[in-house]
């Protein structure tokens, strides 16, 4: 089951990467990051089945970090929207010289 789970994990991660690279909506890019975290969690669980339950602890911690990241990231997006009236990443170029 390990190889199959790693395969699905890799495909999901690649889909997340494609989303981050091709989408312009900041919220959808953010959701793609969540998808990548989920893909990694899947491989953690698969490895935990073969190498012991400590992998489940890592999944637990990754989920906590993902929740914290969602809270802070969405607050950043809201602040950005208030400032620029858009979430289009193409128009958010404050750091461009």
């Amino acid at each position: 089951m390990l190889a199959e789970a790693l395969f699905f994990s890799a495909v999901l991660f690649a889909i997340g990467v494609i989303g981050v690279l091709t989408r312009r909506n900041a919220i959808i890019v953010f959701m793609c990051v969540e998808l990548m975290l989920n893909a990694v969690n899947l491989s953690f669980v698969a490895f935990a089945q073969a190498y012991g339950a400590a992998g489940h602890v890592f999944v637990f911690l990754v989920m906590t970090v993902a929740a914290a990241e969602a809270a802070v990231g969405l607050a950043v997006i809201i602040a950005l929207f208030r400032h620029r009236q858009t979430v289009n990443l193409q128009q958010i170029n404050l750091l461009k010289g």
Binding site: A5, F7, V11, I18, V45, Q49, A54, H56, F60, A67
Partner: protein, 184 residues
């Protein structure tokens, strides 16, 4: 019984894996953020089913409650707050070159994994087959996770609480309306 059960497991594992991948592809290609969020929930439910099939029952439950429940609801709230439900102009994908570059990166990842999938760990690290399932049958679904979490990984657990506190304070500070920015 002994012979049919693994096949049953395997079939459902593939089924939910294909569900997850199909829902993820639909998620990435949706224009509307609301539709994308709902498809991502479908992916997360399929992943929860896969966790259960991989003997991680507690993680599967947490996946549904925390990810599909809490985190995605926060996403939907923000989409609703910013009124982005039908914002077609914002959600355009980037141009052709970006798509080709993204496809190339994804292919590179997949090629790497194809190599890594043949990786064989040393036999000393590998548990006997079905060990985790046995543990779950003996101690229940939560005890095998709670043991290491509160003993070996206690420091990480405690640091996580600080992380959550910082996240809460950061979200409040970032989300606060600043009406008198010049009066500070």
């Amino acid at each position: 019984m002994e012979a049919t059960l693994p096949l049953f497991y395997k079939f459902h594992f593939y089924l939910f894996g294909l569900f997850a991948v199909a829902a993820a592809i639909t998620f990435v290609t949706r224009k509307s953020p609301v539709a994308a969020a709902v498809w991502l929930v479908v992916t997360m439910f399929s992943l929860a089913a896969m966790y259960v099939l991989l003997d991680a029952h507690f993680i599967g439950v947490i996946q549904v409650i925390v990810y599909a429940g809490a985190i995605m609801v926060v996403f939907l709230f923000v989409i609703m707050l910013l009124n982005l439900g039908d914002a077609e102009a914002i959600t355009d994908a980037r141009g052709g070159w970006w798509k080709i570059a993204a496809g190339a990166v994804a292919l590179a990842f997949l090629a790497q994994v194809a190599v890594l999938a043949r990786f064989e760990a040393p036999a000393a690290l590998r548990l006997p087959a079905g060990r985790v399932a046995e543990q779950v049958a003996e101690q229940g679904a939560i005890a095998p996770i709670a043991g290491p979490l509160f003993t070996r990984y206690l420091l990480a657990f405690e640091v996580t609480s600080v992380l959550l506190l910082v996240a809460v304070v950061g979200a409040v500070v970032l989300g606060k309306q600043r009406r008198h920015t010049d009066a500070r």
